[in-house]
Every structure is written in structure tokens, then in C-alpha cells.
């Protein structure tokens, strides 16, 4: 089955360049789901809990997957992960860690906190497109998503 193409992909990324290039890579990988970018961990939590600027669920529906950067200002990706797995409504949301860190410590911690996947940002733009194509294929087409409350 396929995911509702209108369900957004939430991207938590504090670097606007990266956010832009990521969005571009998703497009180039022919993933059409709306991409919503939050600039830090707090934003991600606000969005997922429907608070702050994101109280309107119709306008900001729960995402099909969260692409989470680890090194963010305010609240880090780890904190977002830890928080997320404690929330009854969204604890099962697939989370893909997307970071430039290859440190094994980070990898280990991310999986311990409940990350579903851990991807390292490739340096070359073409490689990024390839990674996003893989993300789309697996998480948006092959993977059966959990039922999240609307």
C-alpha cells in the first residue's frame, strides 16, 4: 500500500541550506509529499504535540516520517527522540536520523532512544538524492506506517 501522498514529511533541521538542499533532493527523488521544515528541536516538539504555532492539525497534520537532525540549537535531536518516545500519541512515528556525524557513540545513542533509521548526510549532492530516493522507497512505499491519531 502507499501512504497518503498528502501526509507531510517533517524535517527538523536548523541549517536552512541543508533544509533547502534536502527538500530539493526529495523533489529530485520524485517524492511529492509536502515537506514541512522546523528549524530546531523545540519546533519539532511543538509541531508533533500540536502546540505553539502548530495547533491547527488540519493545517499541520501529523507527518508520515520525521527526518531528524541531531546537532540542533535549543533542543537537540536526541532530546526530541527521547521526548517523542514518551508521547502516547506519536511514540510510534518513524524517525530517520539524518546527520553529518558518523560517531559510533551518536549512532548507538540514537538507536537506543528509538530511532528507526540512521543516515549520514552525504557530501556530494547526487549522493543525497540517492539517499532520499532510498528513504522514499522504503519509508513511504514499502513500510506499513503505524496508525496515528488524527
Amino acid at each position: 500500500m502507499t501512504v497518503d501522498p498528502q501526509m507531510p514529511i517533517l524535517v527538523a533541521e536548523d541549517n536552512p541550506d541543508d533544509a533547502l538542499l534536502l527538500t530539493r533532493s526529495l523533489r529530485k527523488a520524485r517524492i511529492t509529499n509536502p515537506v514541512i521544515v522546523v528549524p530546531d528541536g523545540d519546533g519539532a516538539i511543538d509541531y508533533l504535540s500540536g502546540t505553539g504555532a502548530y495547533t491547527d492539525r488540519d493545517r499541520y497534520p501529523l507527518p508520515v516520517v520525521l527526518l531528524l537532525d541531531l546537532k540542533m540549537s535549543r533542543r537537540s535531536g536526541f532530546e526530541v527522540l527521547a521526548w517523542l518516545r514518551e508521547q502516547p500519541g506519536v511514540r510510534t512515528l518513524p524517525v530517520i536520523v539524518l546527520t553529518s556525524s558518523k560517531e559510533s557513540r551518536d549512532v548507538k545513542r540514537a538507536y537506543e532512544l528509538g530511532a528507526n533509521s540512521y543516515l549520514v548526510k552525504p557530501g556530494a549532492p547526487d549522493d543525497m538524492v540517492e539517499v532520499m530516493r532510498g528513504v522514499g522507497l522504503y519509508w513511504l512505499i514499502l513500510n506499513e506506517p503505524p496508525i496515528l491519531p488524527s
Binding site: D17, R24, S100, K102, E103, G123, A124
Partner: protein, 806 residues
């Protein structure tokens, strides 16, 4: 010559007496011519007998002497036949001699025994014209004397002793058979030689001494070893006597030599046994069943104080040993059974002192076969005393050992002091023992351990020792108070101790070198009879405790040092942790913060080409390509830098690695470059085994192989040879190429990170590869290096601990 004898002479043969003779007719007897014969008177005066026979053995003439010898007057004889008058002569040697002289007409001299008369005669028979005449004499006395001489000679020959005689010059003139047997010289050999040649003396001095003795006193007797002709010795019992002429002139020696070797052996044996008996330290006593003492050796004299003269004949009562009644009964019973009795006894010397003896009494058989008992007593007082001392020493050693063990097992001085106090109390036999320690800060003695019960003397107590006591202890002297009840000046604790019922106290110093470090206090309820022998024990224990104290101080010092070291290590560790954290943070920053803008540059440059490419000029596209290229190289640089940094921190797992297998993996990593350049790889297997971390080793090899393929001029086909060699417990792996080589001036820079010897255009790279190789090898206890000929190629090597050839 005896004149009274009945003589026999030549006789007229009597008729009927047969005798060998010729059948000739008998001539008429010659008429004597008395007046005309002046010889007749001569014949009559002769001392010998003279007769003349006619051919029929009738007497023609008989002189006076002959008549005497024949026992008849000449008148009776003349005209008568000899054999008629003396028929007993028939068959004697004389008859044969007469007949022979008569018939053969020869003179004959005969000296023989005339058995019928038991007398000896000498006859000189001469033929005469008428018959024969005989001049004869009786030699019976001479013959008898000669027989005695012969007998004496035979006697001398047959005696078992050697008998010898010499002349005045000491030349042997007589040598009997026994002399020949004893000394080995036959009589013919010995006679004529000097006596000293054939009876060898012990020495010339001895010989001349003996000769002088004989000359002056006339004889010498003695025993001396003598040598036989064959060189063997025998014990000679020698009697020597001098022969002297009636006028006292020395005529020679007569010697009798007896071989007494055998006798001497027996004598010496018995004498030796007697000496043994007397030489023994043990008392040896022989007594009869009625307990009368028969033998009492010198040992017995010493042990019991009675001389042999006093003891022999007495009963064993004088000994006073076997004092215990049970012992006496037991011994009697054992002896009655014919068995030996042995026991430790207490015996008394004549002066009354008692000693401990090891006694044996046993039945035996005496010289005459009578039953006797012998007893051997040995003084073992010393042994018993030594055993006691040994036991005391052993206990002392054990106690000390205990203290020493405590010292080894614990560093707590209180425990050591407690062990020492126990040892002191056990060994000295005091009722309480305490070990004190000198508090260096206050100068007080503080009780560290107490063995014994006291409410006054307890651990931790500061002993208020009087100034005098303390001074004595400082001087290394012990202080003994035999009666605590007597008030002592300046000793406050004495009163307290006395109040608690203590009677005596001994206070001994504990010293290290000559420095007072503590004390030992010993308390008695009542003063002991003696406190000597204490010094050695106290010294030993004191040394132990001193060691304990020293150890305590050392332990404290060590603990201080350890604590300081630990603090230092902690500080260093913290510093290192900080540095590591900084490094990590740096790495993360490099990875994240540096990479992010790079990724943006790269990404937007590409986006520019892809999204706005048709709006760009060729030059614009060239610039963006250059931006992308630079971004790409920087990505590689950052990746290598992170790898290099990671290598120094990651944990390596060193174990036995197959170099062949590692090489295979490394070749796999650089297969792209190999294919691209069409490189030929010559692997000289097997490379063997070495101790390494596999991933790290593969990384190092891959870097070396990559370089070997990369740094080859484009017009040359890269040829890489890999081989290994064992070097003194190490294994060296060579990677040889036919590349551009390295000039020796660059030798130092080759392994530095980010050092590049060539332009990016000709040989792209980050310059980290060899630095990574060196760092990897360094972390695996390995080394690396290279040889190179610029323009022809390089040979890089790595070396690791060898774990096997294949």
C-alpha cells in the same frame, strides 16, 4: 785312661774257634832278642798300647801299657792267640781291620767302638814281616765328650728358637735350623757374615747399644722388631750373652731369638681391649651375681668418684644408683629373665651430687664361664640440660616466628604489638606483658597492646613513667622494681599498679639503632625468683617489634606516596579526559560544522548547474565545476583527517593475523585503482603471520598498495611486488613499486600528515595516507620505513611481531 780295666788284646786263637784266615802253617814264634833291642825299652815306656801279632794272630809282643788296656799281663798274652783269649772280638770292626791289614799288607787306622767292652779304641795297624803290629789307645772318654757335643748341636738345631753365635769380630760362626727358618739365611750363607748383615737391627744406634750392653753387663734381653731376609718384620724376643775366655777376653756373642709376633698380637689385643675399657667415657662395671664388683674402669672412677682399688670387691651398693625402688625391682626382674635392662637413671657421685645417666645392665658370661653382670652408665646430664635449653629456644623461636608472621601479615602495629606482648608473657613467664610506643610528638610512652588482665594497664594509656625510668630507657637500660609496694619517687603509675595488686615490674626499652621507640612492660603478681635469661628474649622480641614499628612508619609513608600518586594520576586522567573531550568536540565540529557549509557549497554549485545551467555561460559552468571539485577534495580531506584522528583513539585488538589474508582484503579495497592503471601485483606467498589489529592492518596495507599503484608515471605500467621476511622475531612486509620514487631530501616529510610531495594535478591525494600507516603501525608495536631510488621506484616496509612463517 783307666788302668784297672780288664784288658783285651790280641790273643792266641783258641782251638775250635773258627775265623777267616789262611790255611798256611803257623811259623814258630819269633824269639825275642831282649838285649839287642833298644826299642823294647822305648815301647815299654809308651803311653799307648803296642802289640805284635804273628800271622796266626798270636801275640808276639805286648808292651806294658797294652797289658793294662787288655787287662792281662804281657806274659799271659804272648804266645796265645788273640781270638782265643778274646773271642768277643770276632765280628767287630777291629777284627775286619786286622784281617785286612794282615792279608793286604797295608797300614790301617781305625777308631771305633768296641761294643763287648762298651769302650772306644783307636788302632794304628801296620804290617810287619811276621804279621801285624798295632799301636792302640782307648778313646772312650774323648768319644763320649764328642757325643755330647753332637747331641748339643742336634739339640740346638732342633729348638724352635733361632740360636746363633759369633766370634769376637761378630762374624757368625753358628746358625741353627730355626735361625735359618726364622731369618731366611741358610747356615752356610750366614756363617762367616757379620751378625748385623743377617739379623738386621732396627737401627745402627740400637745395634751398637745392644753390643755395648752385652760387652759391659754380659747379656742383653729385649723385644724388638726384626727384619727377615725377605724384608718382612716380626716381633723378636732376643736373649744375647757374651762368650768370654777364662781370662775375661770377649770371644763373641751367643744369641737366642724367638718369634713372638703371634703372642704379641694376642697380648696387644687384650691390652687394647683394656685400654678401650679405660678410654671409654662411660662407666663400665662388671659384677658377680652376689653384686661384688669385679671390674671398674676409669670411666667409672670419674663418674662415681671411687677408684678401682676402692670399688673392686665392694658391692654395687656403693654406687647409689638405681635409687628408685621400682627401677631396682624392674632391673632385677629383667636381669633374672636374662635380658638387658636400659633406663635413664639418677645416680650419685661419691661427693653426693646427683646426675642423670643412661644406664644399661646386662647379664654375661665371665672369663671362667661364670655368670656375671656388666653395666655401662653414661652421663647424660649435659644432654638433658641441652634438651631443656633447646626446648626453651624452640619455644622462643616459635613465639618470635609468630610475631614475625604477624608483621608479614599485617601492617597494623597494634596487631604486631599484641603478638609481641603474648610472646613476651609466654616466654618470660610474667603475669602481664605490655608493648608501648613512644609518641614522638609528646615524648610519652603510649601502651599499644596488653596481654594480661589489668584495669590500670590498658591500650591507649599514656604511661606516666618517672623521669628516671624514661632516662634509663632512653639510655637503653631496663628498670626493674622488685617491690611495687615500696613507694618510688617520680613514678606515679607504680602506686596505681601496686594498688591493683602487682608486685614487681620490669621495664625494658625498645630501640631502633640507639633510638628509643617504645618499651616492654612486664608485671608480676609477686616478684619472680630470677629475671635473668630475659635479656636475650627481650632483645629478639624488641627487634621484631622495632621492625613492626619501622614497617608501620614505612606503610604510612607508602600510603602517603600512594595517595599522592593517585591524586596525581586522577588529575592527569581528568586532564586527559578533558583533552579527549576537546578532541571529540573538535572532531564533531570538523565533521558537522565544517562539513555543513561544504555540503551547501557543493549542493548549491550543483543546483546552480542543474537548475540554472541554461542561463550560465561556459565560463560560469567551468567556475561552478571548479567549486564542486574543490568541495569534493575538501570532503576527502576532512574524511581523512577524521580517520587519522579516530585511529589514535579507537581500541585495537592485537592478535595473530594472517598477512596473506590481510593483503587480500587490502587488494580488494584498492581494486578500483589497480584496474584503472592495469597494475600488475606480484605476491610472493606465503607472507606468514604477525601480531596486529586486522582492520587497521588492512587499512595500512591498502594505503601502501594505493600509493604503489598511484605514484607511477602515466606511461608506465605499475608493477607492485609484495613479499615478507623474518627478522629476529619480527616479520617485515615489503611493498615494492616501480614508481617515481622519493628523493632523499624528502625522507623526513614522507610520514607527516598532510605533506604532499607532488601537485594535486599529477598525483591527487590528501597527504594523510602514509601518516595513517605510521600511526597504525605505531599503535600495533610495529614500525615502518622505506627505501627508494628516485625515478625507479620505492620499497615501503612495515614490521610487526612475528607469530609464524605461514
Amino acid at each position: 785312661m783307666t788302668k784297672a780295666r780288664t784288658a783285651v788284646g790280641a790273643a792266641q786263637p783258641k782251638p775250635g774257634v773258627s775265623r777267616p784266615r789262611s790255611a798256611r802253617s803257623v811259623p814258630p814264634p819269633p824269639t825275642p832278642e831282649p838285649a839287642a833291642d833298644p826299642y823294647r825299652a822305648l815301647l815299654e815306656q809308651m803311653a799307648d798300647g803296642f802289640v805284635a801279632f804273628d800271622r796266626e794272630f798270636r801275640y808276639l809282643y805286648v808292651n806294658g801299657r797294652a797289658g793294662e788296656l787288655l787287662g792281662r799281663s804281657p806274659d799271659e798274652l804272648v804266645g796265645n792267640g788273640y781270638y782265643d783269649l778274646y773271642p768277643e772280638a770276632v765280628g767287630t770292626p777291629f777284627e775286619r781291620a786286622y784281617a785286612r791289614a794282615m792279608t793286604e799288607r797295608i797300614p790301617i787306622v781305625i777308631e771305633d767302638y768296641f761294643a763287648p767292652w762298651d769302650r772306644w779304641f783307636e788302632n794304628r795297624i801296620s804290617p810287619t814281616p811276621d804279621g801285624i803290629c798295632i799301636l792302640f789307645s782307648e778313646i772312650t772318654e774323648r768319644k763320649r765328650a764328642e757325643q755330647v757335643v753332637g747331641l748339643q748341636a742336634d739339640l740346638l738345631s732342633s729348638v724352635p728358637e733361632a740360636v746363633v753365635a759369633t766370634d769376637e769380630n761378630l762374624k757368625v760362626i753358628y746358625w741353627n735350623t730355626s735361625a735359618a727358618n726364622l731369618l731366611g739365611w741358610s747356615s752356610t750363607e750366614a756363617i762367616g757374615r757379620s751378625i748385623s748383615d743377617v739379623v738386621e737391627a732396627w737401627s745402627e744406634t740400637e745395634r751398637s747399644g745392644i753390643i755395648d750392653a752385652v760387652r759391659t753387663t754380659g747379656s742383653w734381653h729385649g723385644e724388638a722388631p726384626r727384619r727377615r731376609r725377605d724384608g718382612s718384620w716380626f716381633d723378636a724376643n732376643i736373649h744375647l750373652a757374651g762368650r768370654r775366655s777364662p781370662d775375661g777376653r770377649f770371644l763373641g756373642l751367643i744369641g737366642v731369638i724367638e718369634n713372638v709376633t703371634q703372642r704379641n698380637v694376642e697380648f696387644r689385643r687384650s691390652r687394647f681391649q683394656a685400654q678401650l675399657l679405660n678410654g671409654a667415657h662411660d662407666a663400665i662395671i662388671v659384677f658377680s651375681p652376689d653384686r661384688r664388683i669385679q671390674l671398674w674402669n676409669r670411666g667409672a672412677e670419674e663418674l662415681f668418684g671411687w677408684t678401682a682399688a676402692e670399688a673392686i670387691g665392694q658391692t654395687t651398693e656403693i654406687l647409689g644408683f638405681l635409687i628408685v625402688a621400682e627401677q631396682r625391682a624392674e632391673a632385677a626382674e629383667t636381669l633374672a629373665r636374662g635380658e638387658r635392662w636400659r633406663e635413664e637413671i639418677t645416680y650419685h657421685h661419691r661427693d653426693g651430687t646427683a646426675s642423670v645417666g643412661d644406664a644399661v645392665v646386662a647379664p654375661a658370661i665371665g672369663e671362667q664361664g661364670e655368670p656375671i653382670f656388666y653395666s655401662v652408665v653414661r652421663d647424660v646430664t649435659e644432654r638433658v640440660r641441652l634438651q631443656g635449653e633447646a626446648e626453651a629456644a624452640r619455644r622462643s623461636l616459635e613465639a618470635l616466628h609468630e610475631v614475625e608472621l604477624t608483621i608479614i601479615e599485617t601492617s597494623d602495629f597494634g596487631t604486631v604489638a599484641a603478638a609481641a606482648a603474648r610472646a613476651v608473657r609466654a616466654l618470660i613467664g610474667c603475669d602481664l606483658a605490655a608493648i608501648g610506643r613512644l609518641d614522638l610528638s609528646t615524648g610519652d610512652l603510649v601502651v599499644s597492646a596488653v596481654d594480661g588482665d589489668s584495669a590500670v594497664m590498658v591500650s591507649g594509656l599514656r604511661v606516666e613513667a618517672g623521669r628516671e625510668t624514661l632516662d634509663a630507657l632512653r639510655a637503653g637500660e631496663a628498670v626493674y622494681i622488685s617491690d611495687l609496694a615500696v613507694p618510688a619517687t617520680g613514678n606515679a603509675s607504680a602506686a596505681a599498679l601496686s594498688a591493683e595488686g602487682w608486685g614487681a615490674v620490669l621495664n625494658a626499652p625498645l630501640q631502633v639503632e640507639t633510638e628509643l621507640v617504645g618499651n616492654i612492660t612486664m608485671l608480676w603478681r609477686s616478684a619472680p625468683s630470677s629475671v635473668h635469661d630475659v635479656q636475650a628474649i627481650l632483645t629478639d622480641i624488641g627487634n621484631c617489634v622495632a621492625i613492626g614499628l619501622r614497617q608501620m612508619h614505612l606503610q604510612a609513608e607508602i600510603a602517603e606516596h600512594v595517595a599522592e600518586l593517585e591524586t596525581r594520576v586522577e588529575a592527569r586522567t581528568a586532564e586527559l579526559a578533558d583533552i579527549n573531550a576537546e578532541l571529540d568536540a573538535f572532531s564533531a565540529t570538523v565533521a558537522h560544522d565544517l562539513r555543513a557549509p561544504l555540503r551547501s557549497m557543493h549542493g548549491f554549485a550543483q543546483a546552480l548547474v542543474e537548475d540554472e545551467g541554461e542561463n550560465l555561460s561556459d565560463r560560469g559552468r567551468d567556475y561552478t565545476d571548479r567549486i564542486r571539485g574543490a568541495a569534493h577534495r575538501m570532503e576527502a580531506l576532512i574524511a581523512d583527517l577524521l580517520e587519522y584522528s579516530r585511529l589514535s583513539r579507537s581500541r585495537l585488538n592485537l592478535r595473530d593475523i594472517s598477512l596473506d589474508s590481510a593483503l587480500q582484503s587490502a587488494l580488494g579495497q584498492v581494486s578500483g585503482a589497480i584496474e584503472e592503471r592495469g597494475a600488475e601485483i606480484d605476491k610472493r606467498a606465503p607472507l606468514g603471520h604477525a601480531r596486529a589489529d586486522r582492520p587497521a592492518l588492512v587499512q595500512a596495507l591498502a594505503n601502501l598498495l594505493g600509493n604503489a599503484v598511484k605514484f607511477v608515471p602515466p606511461d608506465r605500467t605499475p608493477k607492485v611486488t609484495v613479499f615478507a621476511e623474518a627478522r629476529d622475531g619480527r616479520r617485515r612486509l615489503w611493498v615494492e613499486d616501480n614508481g617515481i620514487g622519493i628523493e632523499s631530501r624528502h625522507r623526513e616529510r614522507v610520514f607527516l600528515p598532510f605533506e604532499r610531495l607532488h601537485g594535486v594535478e599529477s598525483y591527487p591525494g590528501t597527504g594523510v595516507g602514509l601518516a595513517v600507516v605510521q600511526r597504525i603501525l605505531g599503535r600495533m608495536d610495529g614500525e615502518c620505513g622505506f627505501e627508494s631510488e628516485p625515478g625507479l621506484g620505492s620499497r615501503f616496509w612495515i614490521e610487526l611481531a612475528d607469530t609464524g612463517p605461514a
